[in-house]
Subunit: 216 residues, 2 copies
């Protein structure tokens, strides 16, 4: 709001525009990596700048040299997250083979739960709290994208290439089933025991589940 004032000087080198220095790139990415680790494990309010700073190997004032506030770090993390998260959905091709498209969407999503459990939990944390920091993107970007894909799926069903299932709930079911293995990992591991790889069994089970569900 004001910048005539006193503290408006959290320089990031990018006062004017873009040219990030080597050190800036390095430290910003260190901070975001550390923030992902901490935020995903403890939620926004449950995380402290000291934790993030320590995880990143920097001092707290140094964090605040690169980001103006705790909120800003979290926001930057969130900004990219929804895109990453929805990328597999964007990759679904309307002119592909319907069952294959949906199956491979599901598999990509499961793979993301395996490879990026922290991102999954960060996202889940935000949803659980009612998504106070991404309402806009949710109501617009997300809905638009999902509706578009739901239309495509509906087309497939009308053409008789897919069992008649509600497209929205089909998409929800893919989200729920794949993200569960990242978000509730402790629970899954507690049940399966420490020597079982949850994702192995999950892959086979979900193949069978969606195979049977989608048969026309």
């Amino acid at each position: 709001m004001n910048d005539t004032g006193n503290q408006a000087r959290f320089a990031q080198g990018q006062d004017a525009d873009k040219p990030l220095t080597r050190i800036q790139k390095l430290n910003r990415s260190k901070i975001l990596e550390a923030a992902l680790e901490v935020f995903s494990a403890h939620g926004f309010r449950g995380s402290t700048l000291d934790q993030i700073a320590s995880e990143a190997g920097l001092s707290k004032p140094n964090l605040l040299y690169y980001f103006p506030s705790k909120e800003a770090i979290h926001a930057e993390l969130m900004a990219g997250l929804l895109d990453i998260w929805l990328a597999p959905l964007r990759a679904m091709k309307p002119d592909g083979e319907p069952r294959a498209e949906i199956m491979s969407y599901m598999r990509r999503k499961l793979e993301m739960s395996r490879e990026m459990p922290r991102e999954s939990r960060l996202f889940a944390n935000e949803m659980l709290q009612g998504a106070p920091r991404m309402e806009d993107e949710l109501g617009h970007d997300l809905k638009t994208l999902v509706d578009a894909n739901a239309q495509v799926i509906r087309g497939w069903i009308d053409a008789g290439k897919l069992a008649p299932v509600d497209p929205h709930h089909l998409i929800f079911s893919i989200w729920a089933l794949t993200q569960h293995y990242a978000d509730f990992e402790v629970q899954v591991r507690a049940v399966l025991g420490p020597d079982t790889d949850p994702f192995e069994g999950a892959g086979q089970f979900l193949d069978m589940l969606f195979g049977r569900l989608l048969a026309p």
Copy 2:
């Protein structure tokens, strides 16, 4: 540890044993209700005693007259939660009709997501953080109960009354699909729009999904 000392006097009337007074019963339940509301929405660290006190219509010191600490309130809430949460699983009858038993377990679980979304989110919050406050119950009570039911399901499959699916992942899928509608309610509503009841469509969709999955 010590009780000779100074502060060992957070009387609750139940110093000796049981007899809770009328006021105690009332206020303890007010506090637990308020704590459920607040903890489920903001997580443990994200919630403050002031929020809970205000929600309960009591003063903060008065909260601490009934419970020795914030932790204790949360613990009391958690204590009952796992039992409530697993009750439907306990209700599954080994000598019932296999598909009907599983379908009605699923429906009961979905009903719980509809009727007790706060409990669901409280549970989800705890899982996301790695369940630091209920590791014991998870590793023992939960595993035992789930394994028992998995055995029953395996028996049904061996008897040819059920499609051959991994029992553990079948149970996980029921958890994931039903709890998703409570835990990610904002997301679901953002996609479906404000005028649609998510649980209506969910009920139909899940009936079809598990119907197709379990056909022998």
